[in-house]
């Protein structure tokens, strides 16, 4: 046998090996390949026996030739071992199967809105207050400059009770009164809570809903501060610094000057959509400077102190923030909604 003939034989063996390599599917076929090409009875082993038949000058070259082929086999087979093991792992360990899941409950969207709002106002330095829902008429109306003798008293759609001089509070504003009776200025507070109106249920009305009241009383509180605080709150709440606010005159007995605040629609960026009745603006809340008569009712000197107050509907905020089209969803409590929000 000449060196060229040996080369030819080795090349033939290589080709044969490469062919067999393609058939390796698992550990078993891999092992068969290994035995066939590297085992004791393998062809490559038999080639080593030919070395002695070559001249001493040629022996070195022949040895290198056979060795490099053997190394080639070893390398390929080792690599194939990895592939086979990977494949085995993949079959034994289907990571696309579901995990051992369990449910984690969530806050109702109304609570979520209240939590974010609280966080923003707490950072600004406001305190959080609570008050009862079965409220004295005096706190809900009279102290807020809504005497029995004024027609504004009728506009609140009030639930009256079998308990003397009490109503279901129609707004969170009585918490202002309670706080101002309890503490002397400066006062900075918000009061989130349930409120009640005899509103017929439809896509935008519920008889039971939630409000967040805000009040700041100190020396030199200005309407411009009200604007600034509302902008801070809403731009952070909606995570949108480009929102615009506008203030339209309105009448609330407990504030003077009063305003209804409109916000550029966050759902359509003010371009017009069903949520804003194609006006680009959302009527979001009522606000104003605390009326001197309110201060008088709680024994704060209106010449010395001024203040601002506002009240915003929580469901309304949630509808805008989460894109909920109908207020009745809040009351339904369908678990599919509660899970997704």
């Amino acid at each position: 046998m000449t060196i060229d003939e040996l080369k030819e034989k080795l090349d033939k063996l290589k080709k044969e090996f490469e062919n067999d390599l393609k058939d390796v599917k698992d550990e078993k076929t891999w092992n068969e390949l290994r035995v066939k090409y590297l085992g004791k009875k393998s062809k490559i082993k038999s080639f080593f026996r030919f070395i002695g038949k070559f001249s001493s000058e040629e022996r070195k070259t022949v040895g290198q030739l056979i060795n490099s082929t053997k190394e080639y086999f070893e390398e390929k087979i080792e690599k194939m071992k990895n592939d086979v093991e990977e494949e085995k792992k993949r079959i034994d360990f289907d990571i696309t199967l579901p995990g051992r899941k369990r449910d984690i409950g969530k806050d109702h969207p109304v609570t979520s809105v209240m939590k974010i709002s609280k966080e923003i106002f707490l950072k600004m330095g406001f305190d959080v207050k609570r008050g009862p829902e079965v409220e004295k008429e005096w706190n809900n109306f009279d102290a807020l400059n809504i005497p029995e003798s004024h027609p504004a008293r009728d506009e609140q759609d009030t639930f009256y009770l079998n308990k003397k001089k009490s109503v279901l509070r129609t707004h969170t504003s009585p918490v202002q009164i309670r706080t101002m009776l309890d503490e002397k200025p400066p006062i900075a507070m918000i009061a989130p809570g349930k409120v009640y109106r005899t509103d017929t249920i439809d896509a935008s009305h519920l008889p039971v809903f939630h409000q967040i009241e805000g009040l700041l009383v100190d020396k030199d509180v200005k309407f411009s501060d009200l604007k600034g605080v509302l902008y801070k709150y809403l731009s952070v709440f909606f995570n949108d610094k480009s929102i615009k606010l506008r203030f339209y005159n309105n009448y609330f007995p407990f504030t003077e000057p009063s305003a209804e605040m409109h916000m550029s629609c966050v759902l359509c960026d003010g371009n017009g959509c069903p949520a804003c009745s194609y006006s680009g603006w959302i009527e979001l809340l009522g606000c104003g400077m605390v009326d001197p008569n309110v201060f008088k009712a709680v024994d704060i000197d209106p010449e010395k102190y001024t203040g601002f107050a506002f009240g915003v509907g929580v469901e309304r905020l949630a509808m805008l923030k989460y894109g909920i089209p109908d207020i009745r969803f809040f009351q339904e409590n369908d678990l599919r909604m509660l899970k997704k929000l």
Binding site: R102, H108, M124, V128, S149, Y160, K222, D225, N333
Partner: protein
Amino acid sequence: MKITLNWLEDFIDLNGIDLDDLSEKLGSQGLEVEEIIEPGKKIKDVYIGLITKIENHPNADKLKICHVDIGKDEKLQLVTGASNVKEKVFVPVAVDGAKLNEHDIKKVKLRGKISEGMICSLEELGLEEKSEGIYIMENVSRKDIGKVVHPYFGLDDKVIDFEITSNRSDCLSVLGIAREISIATGRQIKLPETTFESTAKKSKEKLKVNIKDYKKCYNYTARFIENISLNKTPLWMKTRLELVGLRSINIVVDITNYVMWEIGLPLHAFDSELVENNKIIIREANNGEDFITLTGEEICLNCSNLMIADSKKSIALAGVVGGLNTEINEKTDKVILEAALFDPVNIRATAKEHNLSTDSSYRFERGMDYNIVKVASDRASFLLNKYADASVYQGVCEDKNSDFNPHSDVLLRWDRAEKLLGFEIPKEEVIQKFVSLDYDVIQKDNESVKLRVPSYRYWDVKREVDLIEETVRLIGYHNIPMTLPRIKIKNVEVDKQEYFKEEIFKFLQSYGFFETKTFPFISEKEIEELALDKNRLVRIKNPMTKDFEYMTCEPLVSLLKIAELNKKRSNEKIKIYEWGKKYLKKEGESFFTSILLTGKISKSIYKNDREMDFFDLKPILDGLIEMLDLTGYRWEKSNRKIWSDDSSYYLVKNNLKILEYGKIDPDYTEKFDFEEEVWGAYIFVDESLEFYEIKRKFREFSSYPPIYYDLAFIVDKKITAGEIKNLIEEKAGNYLEDLKIFDIYEGEHLGKDKRSIAFSLIFRSKEKTLQEDDINANIKAVIKSVKEEFGAKLRE
């Protein structure tokens, strides 16, 4: 408050003004436009036609066949049953395909004859409640044939609906709204025509007026008007009244209503023949006096009600409603026209007391303009003179409170205004705006201006702060910049209840419970079914429905309704809670966390499906005990009706009920379509807070390794796992760190009514690594005592 655009244009020029822009501006001034309605859009394809020929219908006596020229080549053939139809008159014709409000007009056959449309009445055009016969048009000529009818009927008008806030009584009129538009546009308003020729006779010679209580009536004027012809109300007036929502009644009533809408002041006309001695007395009613109103309602009066009376009887409930006894009727030809000003508070009290809210009381209770009394009386007289051919006596017979001053002088300090608003006010511009609205400058210097408020704002602009609001309203809120206040650090205490709430929420949510928000109401039916004490509950006097009549004391009922809804929608696993309240009449409100679970956990590759039960609720009970770090508590049976008999308990510590749980009575849950178990629990928040501590205490733990020892006992099934557990804990010695139950096994070979309970004991020392020898004695003691106490066998 609806007004029409044409009517408004009588008071202010709107030429070239965009209605949408104007609405925006008015909105910013506090006068919100709710809706703009185009009534003409509901009427389509109705034309002026001339009846050229009428024939009898061959098949029907009452029907006639009219040939009508509407300017087309062919005359239309129209069948009508109207008795007033005649030849050579102009009529409104709805052709095939026309629209009359909700009706579509089509070509039809009437008793065998084709009718190519319809000749219309005012009723069909929506301008009258009930018409008799078709409408015959006047002042129309041949050249109008074929034109649309809208301009003729005033249907080319627009109706604007305003929302008027309760302080702005001055805007309850076309005049008042025109005044607001003058702010928005800078254009002048014009007053309507009021000059007419009166008779030589004077009202004050014919009539007598006497106010008995000047605090309830500030001014009363009466005018005598005779020779009234009860003509038809002019079509334009009728249309305007209909469009703003008033009904046309007769010319006299229509004119008083028209003037009320236009000028603001409610007027009243009495048939003077029915008024005794032409004498008007404004006095208190007698207690127990009966009175019948214009609408035939009988009311029983008391002395706080103010009446208009003649020398013998009451003839009107002042400012609210007239009396039936002096109503304008078909024989009326002389009237006494009232224009007066009443005290708003008294009118409101009377209207509320008798549940009579009228256009008149609505206006008077908001406060009317003292100075408009004369204008309104003059305007109505002018219209009666012009359209009812009436002779109006000169002047009015009047009585008034001479102390009543309809103008108040109010000082506006600029620095005060600027401090409250937060920007520098353009003082001269503001003063000019006030002047253009009829405020008089009484005195002014650099610091302030004293303004005399016009009488139309008497009722709501009384204080400096009111002028400050007017200031910003007149120049716009957009002038106010945005600033941030300095808020002083004050209350920084941690709110324990809020903290506890957070922790409860975290805990329940980690167990898969979802927060819900429900209506805290309960119905009388539910109260009865659950045997609750109705007398202790807060009841709503004006509930929206019977379902919402009482404030709840059993919040789980609301949760059951939520569960029911979810079940109906195939949400199978229901684990919900609510942080809510219980409301009692005497004790007030207390916070409650209500928890409900029912339904099933669906099958997965790791476990089979199963219905939820007590053991899904139990970790909540255990968790709360752990959260409150409770020891020395006890479980007491709760026998309330909502629970199933044998499964409900209170957790009690120091005689305070902290928690209550149970299986909700299947008889009750069946009403909500539940066949499966429904478990509920209440955490009483106030009581829990007695034990809840925000602070926690570090407990030292061992750094040595533990020894595990498992023991399984075969015991009679009557013996509870808890009993054995307690005994093991007692006997296992100080090294016992933890004790768990890890297996329950039942099998025939164990014996009848026997089971095996396997415990895993964990021993550990804080001082050393334990050896078997350290615990062997304890293990023996445990085995011995469990055997002796419970007749247990050790399972090898």
